[in-house]
Amino acid sequence: MIEARQLAVTFNPGTPMQTPAMRGIDLVIPEGDFVTVIGSNGAGKSTFLNALAGELRPDSGSILIDNQDVTAWPTAKRAGLVARVFQDPLGGSCANLTIEENLALAYARGKRRGFGASVSSAMREEFRAHIARLNLGLENRLGDSMELLSGGQRQAVSLLMAALQPMKILLLDEHTAALDPKTAAFVLELTREIVAERNLTTLMVTHSMRQALDIGNRTVMLHEGRVVLDVRDHDRDGLKVEDLLHMFEKVRGSELDDDALLLS
């Protein structure tokens, strides 16, 4: 179970550029939940994800993974609990390492690294079996450099890499945003398969409301650094994109009203 308690962070505090990116995010994600996160630009989606991954230390609040406080843990220490797929297809892998070397890096996530060969023949066989399921013909190209793959292929491999070792939560950071529609659909379907197969607890940030409602069992909307909507299972089943838009406008509208009250 992942718990975010009153997470807050302000960028460039005390300067004219001061931006409160999170203003007290509270979210409990029980095991097995697949949460999609939506929100407009600057809502705090990426900041929240970075805080969960450990790339960003919140000013206040705490993050608990299975009741263990990991707020002060750097990314590398947290990597045994958290797996991540980045938005940028180039970001989730090492371009000039080979496919199998990239898989080997992920294979050692959360483990002690030694002086043995990074890619053993047993590992290579395992990688071959994993990568064959993608049906991209990559099983015979394990020795190829990662930079020879297309964006979609790289995201598919990144997903496989994330799932190589057990984790408490899988973080997906708009991982289909940089892909063409057909490839995005393929990667999304692969995501659905892998998450279902291993019953992974997942948090997926997306900019598409359609996608947010189609996938997973729960949708959270962030706005100005707070959770403004949290619907799950039955409550979410009947929702349409228009409903979400409506709710979004209501949230923004009510804030306008607040401001109007203040100003009057």
């Binding site: 990597a79 958290v82 989730g92 371009a95 080997a104 002086f115």
Partner: protein, 297 residues
């Protein structure tokens, strides 16, 4: 070029191949432009020579030199990862500091090793002239270092170090403590450079505080030149390219100085180096660390 000049070029080329392997580790593997080299090379020479003249075993003195180099590399890395000083500047600071430290270690600007026992002394028993036997011994040593480095960079730890250089954010997400790998990699890189300095002092018969001037450019010339000559896709090819690059560079310099036609003299060495590095960088198909991305024709 005479045979002695030729073998001399090979000998110095092999010595600087160790520098090239160190520079490859920092510039290419960690993508950390490191000028500490100009200080850690004479540091190795200074530590080794000072210990030898006080009667320390030359093998132990060379090991101590390598350890001193590792320390210098860690200072640069620490300035960068802990104090967040820009890598290039961090390395310049260490390099400048080492100039004073080297003078302190030697107590004077140079230490002569004439008549002292060095790591090369046992080779005299073979009864061959030193200009023949030295290149052979160095070739064996450099090959050993190359193979050890190949093994290391293909181990789990070595792969993590390569990932740290290529994509640190991704590396951290895979549980790699990138700061520690930068510290370790810089230590290893400068240990190799200092070891080269120690051997250089022993083969030339003296350590001098000005020994380090331009060592980084020579190391870089070897790395870039090697890449221009050899495809470096796999690690073992890249380390091989460093060695070949270093030797070819020395032969090119010796050739240029020996060609009476050109009228070049020893003092033109740095100019020749700059021209050679520039030529190597504009050759097609070379990865260019200091040229802007996208400006490649």
């Amino acid at each position: 070029m005479s045979q002695i000049a030729f073998l001399g070029a090979i000998e110095v080329g092999l010595l600087f191949a160790l520098v090239a392997l160190g520079v490859y580790l920092s510039f290419r593997v960690l993508q950390f432009p490191d000028l500490t080299v100009d200080g850690s090379f004479p540091l190795g020479a200074a530590v080794c020579a000072s210990l030898i003249v006080t009667g320390v075993d030359p093998y132990f003195a060379s090991l101590a030199a390598a350890l001193a180099g590792a320390g210098a590399g860690m200072v640069t890395a620490w300035l960068n990862v802990r104090l967040k000083i820009l890598h290039l500047l961090a390395s310049i600071l260490t390099m400048i500091a080492l100039y004073s430290i080297n003078l302190r270690i030697m107590g004077r600007p140079n230490v002569a090793l004439l008549g002292e026992k060095t790591v090369f002394t046992p080779l005299e028993a073979l009864g061959m002239p030193s200009y023949v036997v030295l290149p052979i011994a160095l070739a064996v040593l450099v090959l050993g270092v190359k193979l050890a480095l190949d093994w290391f960079l293909n181990s789990e730890v070595g792969l993590a170090m390569r990932a740290t250089g290529v994509n640190p954010r991704m590396a951290r997400a895979q549980g790699i403590h990138t700061d520690r790998y930068i510290l370790g990699g810089m230590a290893l890189s400068n240990a190799l450079v200092a070891l080269a300095g120690a051997f250089f002092a022993q083969s030339q018969g003296a350590a001098d505080v000005t020994l380090g001037v331009g060592v980084i450019v020579v190391g870089l010339a070897a790395v870039i030149g090697g890449e221009a000559l050899i495809n470096t896709r796999a690690v073992w090819r890249a380390t091989f390219a460093c060695i070949i690059g270093s030797i070819v560079y020395r032969l090119a310099v010796a050739g240029a100085l020996n060609a009476d036609l050109l009228g070049l003299q020893a003092q033109d060495l740095n100019l020749i180096t700059a021209v050679l590095v520039t030529l190597a960088m504009v050759l097609p198909g070379v990865r260019m660390p200091f040229r802007k991305k996208g400006s490649t024709p």
